[in-house]
């Protein structure tokens, strides 16, 4: 068989065009002596014949028009990358996780204000998981991270109603279900009085909420980030949050799971 293998390439190449005279003679000589390779040669020819009998299929009508429409649509569309798909969005999640740890350490000893009544589940609801919410303006968090606060974030911090950065709220969320949209938006906007650009760290928000983008009636968007850090993605919190704000369609608030 090893002897035959030497001629396989020649046999294959002979299908694609004439071989150099020396190769052609060597192959013919081998085929005369080897019935297996003669059979293989015949089978190769049968396969090629069948292939060549296949006719090209017509392209569906409007093919070019569809391609060009897609190109024109892509050219006209502003090149805005969805914020949750952007690499820096993930960076922000990582930074938020870092900030969460830092703030967790910081708040040891800080008094907690509990407002269970505001978000108590319905009486018939199954056993609920407690969700501790701590709010911090991003400018402050940036300071925690040691980076200078960008203008946009600093403005948010200045415009924010005066409040205790250590304010804490206990919210009930059913395990393994997405938090109620209105509940979360109200939590951020009304109860905590936060403004766009706020970073809200939620200790026990269900992981299922990660990546969810909530939009309130007034256009404010609330983004739930993963707290899982990714290697090599560490950047300053201020930088990432500022980036998210620039890309967002309107006011944004950020939350992260623990």
């Amino acid at each position: 068989m090893n002897h035959c293998e030497r001629f396989m390439d020649l046999l294959s190449q002979s299908l694609d065009g004439p071989l150099p005279l020396e190769d052609h003679q060597a192959l013919q000589q081998h085929l005369e002596q080897c019935p297996e390779c003669r059979l293989l040669s015949q089978q190769f020819l049968e396969i090629r014949e069948e292939f060549h009998s296949w006719e090209d299929q017509e392209v569906p009508e409007g093919f070019t028009a569809v391609v060009m429409d897609r190109i024109r649509a892509a050219e006209e569309k502003p090149k805005v990358i969805p914020i949750w798909k952007h690499r820096q969005f993930k960076t922000f999640g990582s930074i938020a996780a870092c900030a969460l740890i830092c703030m967790g350490l910081w708040r040891t000893g800080a008094p907690e204000v509990s407002q269970d009544a505001a978000f108590a589940p319905a009486a018939s609801a199954p056993a609920a998981e407690t969700m501790d919410v701590h709010s911090y303006v991003t400018a402050d968090s940036a300071a925690v991270d040691g980076a200078p606060a960008p203008a946009a974030l600093a403005k948010s911090a200045e415009d924010a109603p005066a409040q205790d950065a250590s304010a804490s709220l206990t919210v009930h969320a059913e395990t393994a279900s997405l938090p109620d949209e209105d509940q979360l938006i109200r939590l951020v906007q009304d109860t905590l009085g936060q403004v766009p650009g706020t970073l809200v760290l939620v200790d026990t928000l269900p992981q299922i909420a990660e990546g969810t983008l909530y939009t309130a009636a007034d256009g404010t968007q609330l983004l739930v980030l993963s707290a899982q850090p990714e290697a090599g993605m560490w950047k300053t919190l201020a930088e990432s949050a500022s980036f998210c704000l620039e890309l967002g369609d309107g006011p944004m608030v950020f939350m992260t799971t623990n």
């Binding site: 190449q13 089978q43 090209d56 392209v59 070019t64 897609r70």
Partner: protein, 199 residues
């Protein structure tokens, strides 16, 4: 206008020039993707995707090969990605690869006066489609380019970024693998004439 001129204009953002390039190449690219993936709808998506990628990547096309060869490269790479992803999905769900009669292009419509020959012809065509579908994607790729798209060794070498020796040896292995699958299928090759044994 030559292909080079059209490419030069398209590179400068001339969509009409690119539209002409699409028209000139749509049939060969669609047929390549159709032979690679088998399903007409998938082939349509993949071939259109190849043209979109060509438009986006025009700046990177240096003109070392023909524009059509570059398109073959984009389209066949898209097909390979698609086939790998499809295989992963099938590995996950456990559903086997299959080729329905509807997926296979119809056999040539001759022999209308001989239904038995038509049936035999259809069987052979389907057997070859099944065998092609069962080949590893990189084998299918070179075979389709050579046997169906009619590319030369040099063009395949440029499209796949392989040296000529690798193209030749890969074609040999692909043909042997295809022949093996067809032999096992049993519906393609005519049975060899029996050799009388001497008593």
């Amino acid at each position: 206008m030559t292909e080079q001129e059209l490419v030069a204009r398209a590179k400068n953002g001339d969509q009409d020039a690119f539209e002409q390039l699409v028209r000139d190449n749509e049939k060969r690219i669609y047929n390549l993707t159709l032979r690679m993936v088998g399903d007409p709808e998938d082939a349509l998506d993949l071939s259109q995707e190849a043209f979109l990628n060509a438009w986006k990547g025009l700046a990177s096309f240096k003109g070392d090969s023909a524009f059509s060869t570059w398109l073959y490269r984009l389209a066949s790479n898209a097909c390979l990605d698609f086939l790998r992803s499809k295989k992963r999905r099938q590995d996950t769900t456990g559903s086997p690869l299959s080729l329905d009669d509807e997926d296979a292009p119809p056999p040539p419509s001759d022999d209308t006066s001989r239904p038995d020959l038509q049936l035999e012809r259809k069987e052979r065509t389907l057997a070859l489609h099944r065998a092609l579908d069962a080949l590893p994607p990189h084998h299918r790729q070179v075979l389709v380019m050579r046997e169906l798209s009619g590319l030369s060794y040099q063009e395949i070498s440029q499209a796949l970024d392989l040296d000529l020796g690798t193209v030749k040896s890969r074609l040999t292995r692909a043909r042997i693998a295809l022949k093996k699958i067809l032999s096992e299928d049993g519906n393609f090759f005519s049975p060899p004439p029996s050799i009388p044994t001497e008593q």
